[in-house]
């Protein structure tokens, strides 16, 4: 056997966006290599999700022991499937769930996951995988070992494309016994009601580590007020408790796409970039001219935020008259 197998993450019968992006990556790889593509969905209502994926064969793994996600359950079910199907490539979304079971699944198969890829290059020569290193400051190109090659693709790296046609769904029941599953998960919960919906804000001023200490936040708050913007923050600032968790932008917080996004003292780790790179106009103010945030910015100011931010606030107030 050969071919590409894409694991599409789903919840309650609905495929996740990042799973559909992985499917696009799988189709692109299949087209480049001339190899057939099939998909797999697992968990409660997997078959319902499978039917929405368009014209390709889809294996739906359903089992009562897969209804609540566990790393042990997902690994056992998918390892059995991959052994049976023997694909050359297994493409997964780099979701929180895959971060939890992907490395385990690869290890069980005697492989290492090529994780969090931003691109798969298939021109002449061996297939190569691009991923970010050093918090996005460098990009590495990798070659993988023997088949099956397991690769997870970063959120936003591939565009979702509707595939015409009807899915051919095959329902399977993996062999799972209770003793294999050691994690006992409780239902997910939210800590606080989300009081702030940054996703509808037309302008956001977001603050990161560069602000130094809590007392300096007032500078950024004044800028936000002058712009009529909501305040956002990167993870370390929320971890410190300086800004509420509900204002966190990034993979573990909110995904935003305002008309204007001003990043102040944010270096632009991947986890932050995935949450804001869809913004219409991005301004970055950072002392390090090589910070990755400048790669997604429309306008960049490499300088001392303690000088630039007050100057900007003053300029905006002047402009308003």
């Amino acid at each position: 056997m050969s071919g590409i197998l894409v694991i599409v993450e789903q919840s309650g019968g609905v495929p996740q966006r990042i799973g559909l992006e992985a499917l696009s990556a799988g189709h692109a790889l299949g087209a480049a290599l001339g190899q057939p593509v099939r998909a797999c969905v697992f968990g409660a209502q997997a078959a319902a999700a499978a039917r929405t994926l368009g014209g390709l064969p889809v294996i739906a793994l359903e089992h009562e022991r897969l209804e609540a996600y566990t790393a042990d359950g997902a690994t056992a079910a998918l390892a059995e499937l991959i052994a049976a199907e023997a694909p050359d490539y297994v493409v997964l979304p780099h979701s929180y769930q895959v971060r939890d079971y992907g490395p385990k699944l690869a290890t069980r198969l005697g492989r290492v996951l090529v994780s969090d890829c931003t691109g798969i290059v298939c021109d002449a020569g061996p297939v190569r995988f691009e991923r970010q290193l050093f918090q996005g400051k460098l990009t590495g190109t990798f070659e993988a070992g023997p088949a099956p090659v397991l690769v997870s693709v970063q959120a936003g790296a591939y565009r979702i494309e509707a595939v015409p046609g009807e899915a051919t769904v095959e329902l399977r029941r993996p062999a799972l016994d209770a003793a294999q599953i050691r994690q006992r998960p409780e239902p997910p919960f939210r800590e606080t009601a989300k009081a702030v919906d940054l996703s509808t804000a037309s302008a956001i001023v977001a603050v990161g580590r560069g602000i130094g200490e809590e007392g300096n936040l007032v500078l950024v708050e004044e800028l936000a007020a002058a712009l009529g913007a909501e305040l956002g923050a990167s993870r370390p600032i929320c971890d410190n408790g300086w800004v509420g968790m509900e204002r966190q932008v990034g993979s573990s917080g909110q995904t935003v796409a305002p008309k204007l996004y001003v990043a102040v003292g944010i270096s632009g780790a991947i986890q932050h970039l995935v949450g804001m790179k869809g913004s219409e106009c991005i301004v970055a103010i950072n002392k390090d001219p090589n910070a990755p945030i400048f790669e997604v910015a429309d306008y960049g100011i490499a300088g001392d935020l303690f000088e630039v931010v007050p100057a900007l606030t003053a300029e905006l107030s002047k402009a308003k008259g």
């Binding site: 939890d100 070659e143 997910p188 917080g253 100057a311």
Partner: protein
């Protein structure tokens, strides 16, 4: 209880990274190094558990000779002893190869719990802890925010996407990958630094552990990322930069 914490030494966050001659790795000469930040939170979580429960915290670190400074710092903060798997060239190894080394060293310690950061700030593959769990045959949980010991194991709180959390019960021994920022990091005290000097650091190697250093993933090129956008960098004094930006936001981007 015995807790092993796997830590890694990485280039300091503020480092200016320069590629080496062949463009295969970094020019390390001018870099300073520090503990991988998520691993610092894993160590703190272990020290807090030890304070509650008693027991021992053992640090294990794979890296070249320079990793000694990071190991000493962990001992100064309160770890009881350390194992240094001293190897050069681990930067060229994939996560599976490194996890094999760590798992082999950890297995001999027979711990109740293994903690490590959820990912490293350098290669960021986010896999080492999970791979170790599979190699050791133990249960694991990732993105852990809180750890509570129970009579038959532990209950952890883990982070899910979009502001959701979940509690999961696990048997021991278990491997947990710790999310950054879950606790307040302590500083090493002068007394701690003094005591660290007499604490045991056992040095070993891949050969001594009987683990071959074989990688499947091969880094073939390293480069600065391509800009996806044409960024206009604004020059001048702070006031000039501010004025230019407001002008551009108003009339070019029409974002004001």
């Amino acid at each position: 209880m015995r807790i092993v914490v796997a830590i890694k030494q990485v280039p300091a966050r503020e480092s200016q990274l320069k590629l080496d001659g062949p463009g295969r790795w970094l020019e390390e000469g001018e870099l300073s190094f520090e503990v991988n930040e998520p691993d610092a939170y894993a160590l703190e979580a272990a020290l807090q558990l030890k304070e509650q429960q008693g027991g021992e915290v053992v640090v294990v670190c794979a890296g070249p000779e320079r990793a000694q400074s990071t190991i000493r710092e962990a001992l100064a903060k309160g770890a009881d002893r350390a194992i240094h798997i001293e190897e050069d060239g681990l930067a060229q190894c994939d996560a599976l190869a490194v996890a094999r080394l760590l798992a082999q060293a950890i297995s001999a310690e027979q711990p109740d719990l293994v903690l490590t950061g959820l990912q490293s700030d350098d290669t960021g593959s986010g896999q080492t802890g999970v791979i170790m769990a599979e190699l050791l045959g133990w249960a694991h949980a990732t993105l852990v925010m809180a750890v509570e010991l129970t009579p038959d194991g532990l209950v952890i709180k883990r982070e899910l996407e979009g502001g959701w959390f979940q509690r999961v019960a696990l048997p021991c021994p278990a491997v947990l990958t710790i999310q950054s920022g879950i606790n307040k990091l302590r500083y090493a005290t002068l007394m701690g630094i003094k005591r660290a000097k007499s604490k045991e650091v056992r040095r070993t190697t891949a050969a001594e552990l009987g683990v071959p250093l074989e990688s499947q993933l091969r880094l073939v090129a390293l480069r600065a990322p391509q800009r996806t956008k044409q960024t206009q960098m604004l020059a001048g004094s702070a006031a000039e930069q501010a004025a230019a930006l407001v002008e551009k936001l108003k009339f070019e981007a029409r974002a004001l």
